[in-house]
Structures are given as C-alpha cells and as structure tokens.
Symmetry: C2
Subunit: 226 residues, 2 copies
C-alpha cells in the first residue's frame, strides 16, 4: 500500500462537552486553534461541527461561516468538511451551511439507531441534501453506519445523485449501530471494492475504538480519522 494516507481530524464532534472533557475545543476560536495544531501535525481534512453558546450542537450557518473563515486564514490548504449530521438540527436545517461551499460535507444516506434514539435520515431529506451538495459543488462524505449504506451510496452514485467518485466513511463503535468489528471492517472494504471500485474510503472508530479502527484502516489502505 503506497497510497498516501489522508488524515482527517474531527476537532469537536457533536457529543462531548467541556464538562465531560475540558480538552475538547467548543468555541470557534478554540476549534481553529486546535485544527491548526492538527494540520501542522499532518491532518489534511477538517471534519467540523459547531456549538452554540450553551455548547449545544447547532447547524447555524453563521457559526459555520465564522469557523470556515478562520480555517481559511490559518490552514489555507486544508480541506474543510462540514457536518450535516442529525445531532445538530432537524430536517433541512441540517443543510443550511451548504451554500458556504465547503470542499466537503458529511452525508448520511440511511437511518440507524444511536445510543438512545433513532438517527433519522428519511429518503427525501437524503435526496435534498445530496441535491444541495451538487448545486453548491460540495463533495459528500457518505457516513456508513451499516452495510446497506454502502449499497445506497453506490445506487446514488450510479444514478448521478452523487457525482464523481463517492467518498465513504465507515463509522464503527456507536452503541446500537455497527460495533467496531474487524471482520465487518473487512466486509466493508470488500463491498467498496465491488460496488464503488474508484472510491476512496476512510474509517472512524468512536471513543475507545478510535486507535483500533485507525490501525485497520491504515493497514488496509484507507484514510484515518482522528
């Protein structure tokens, strides 16, 4: 495997608060600072969520705009990937930052359970988010929380709802969704090779699974998210 490994840093995520972990950057300024440090350490992609003044995840386009501005200034060659995930808002709110034209945005293409609730991505919302991404030239990163999500990505790539080579991230270790299981990781890689042979993929292990999943990912030729 001589393919260069793209490191993708998720600076904040949508779950932890400073009360849980004082090291988590939650203000825009803290996020920019820690992204710059990660960038200097080699991270090429910044996967970003934003928080409101109560540290609650939000889809607020103004906050995303401020974050992007700071990142453009401090890490001009970094690829910015904004989250359209469902922890930060409901329905079309989740895509309100897409007109900012980040290089990438996350796109969930199916629904699944999360620790205490359903992660809802109804088919019409998936199609609308994908259309907004095409319209604003944003490359989607497909969040695969389960095997069928890779099939859905391939279907949408095949009919043009996702343009170019779909980029897929395997998310493992979220309670009530897919666990961090090395055999499933291999199955994901095999399924990508079969259905989306020209696509890149990366893998994210949540919480205590992070290092383990990164190791599988790097040794199988994928990218890593930290």
């Amino acid at each position: 495997m001589t393919k260069p490994c793209i490191i993708c840093v998720a600076i904040t995520g949508s779950v932890p608060r400073t009360a849980d972990n004082p090291a988590v950057p939650v203000t825009i300024e803290q996020q920019i600072e820690s992204t710059q440090a990660a960038h200097e350490a080699g991270a090429a992609i910044c996967h970003a969520h934003v928080r409101d003044e109560n540290e609650t995840p939000t889809s607020d386009p103004d906050r995303f705009a401020r974050l992007m501005e700071g990142l453009r200034r401090h890490c001009p060659d970094m690829i910015i990937q904004l989250s359209t995930g469902g922890r930060s808002g409901a329905g079309k709110e989740r895509g309100g930052m897409l007109p900012l034209r980040p290089e990438m945005a996350s796109l969930s293409v199916g629904s699944n359970n999360f620790p205490t609730r359903v992660y809802e991505n109804p088919p019409d919302l998936v199609d609308w988010l994908a259309a907004e991404m095409r319209h604003h030239d944003v490359m989607p990163e497909i969040e695969a929380f389960d095997l069928s999500h890779i099939f859905k990505a391939a279907e949408m790539n095949g009919d043009g709802r996702i343009r170019g080579n779909a980029y897929v991230q395997f998310v493992m270790g979220v309670k009530n969704a897919m666990p961090a299981d090395s055999r499933v990781f291999d199955i994901y890689v095999e399924t990508m090779a079969r259905l989306l042979p020209n696509s890149e993929w990366c893998a994210a292990g949540i919480g205590r699974h992070q290092l383990e999943v990164n190791e599988w990912s790097v040794s199988a030729g994928g990218h890593a998210r930290t």
Copy 2:
C-alpha cells in the same frame, strides 16, 4: 443439508391492498382460509398482520385475537407469529397483541429506511417489546434489515433480553434498506454462524425477490418465507 425446511407463510403483509392485488386476503376470514390452504401445502409458521375495515394495517389486539382463534381452530398445529412491525401502529401500540401469547412475534431491533420513510425502532421501544415477549413467553423472530441488526440480536441474546436461541429473519429487497444481494446473504449466514451459532435463521425476499432469496435460503440450510 438434511435439516427439515420450515416454511413460513406471510399471508398478507402490511403493504398491498385488494386494489393492488385482488388475491391478497385482507379480512380475517380470508386470511384464515388462505393460511389453511398454505398449511395443507406444507407451511408450518404463519406470519400475520391484520387490517382494519379500510384495509389499513392495524395493531388492534381484538382483530389479532379473532385471527388467532380461527387459526387455532383450522390449523391447530401451526405456529402463529404476529407482527409487531411499525407499519401497523406507533410506539407501544405495536406490542398490544403480545398478551395473546402467540408462539412467536416479529421483533425489529434496529432502525433503517423504507421506500418513503424511516422505519423507526428506537432503543427503548425495542427493549420494551423484548420485555413484553419474555413476560408473555413469546419467541421473537428478529427482523434483520441490515447487518448491524444481527449484532444487536446477539447482544440482546447474550445479556438475556432475548431468551433461548434467537431466531433471525433476513429481510432483503426493500427499497432504501438492504437489497437482495447474494454476497450479503452469504455474509449474513457467516455472521449468524459466528455470533449466534445455535440459532435458526430464515430469509425473506420482498416482492419480485421472493423466489430468488428462498432459493439461496433453502440451499444454505435456512428456512423459507413465502
């Protein structure tokens, strides 16, 4: 494969109406009649939904009770499996028929997309339905719409939320969920052998995929649903 093949007949399902297919039995009397015919042809399990007077799927326990009464009379040795699926009601309504103590009931353990909406099975509802089934001695048939659902079934079997040997059905070919894919079918079988080695499984191909999936199922030693 010398294991006897259990044939499971789904007499009505929750989607088609008589306007779509006049052969679909929707009244209780029609259902009993066509189940008896299937039973004489070899079906051992009857997977049942019920409809209201407008042919709309319902979880109404009274209708389920009338259906069970008729089946007990006409097919006394048949295993009755009632649906707790989400097309027929919302929340705990879906388990309102479990006190009738059918031999089996369907249990979805995760969420996924359906053709036009999210099939919502929030974790607390899954746990409540499983508890009701334990309480009333009903054997769950786990509906696996995606790979992680087999992991969830194994987790619930391991900690006693599902007692005995979990019985799992692979559901393939529902739009926006897992397609009818023979490689995935093999992966499902492999995953069952790894995580739930003492469990039985069966497979259902939806609509035009029915015969294909039954063939895979029978040749791999599983049961078939028609």
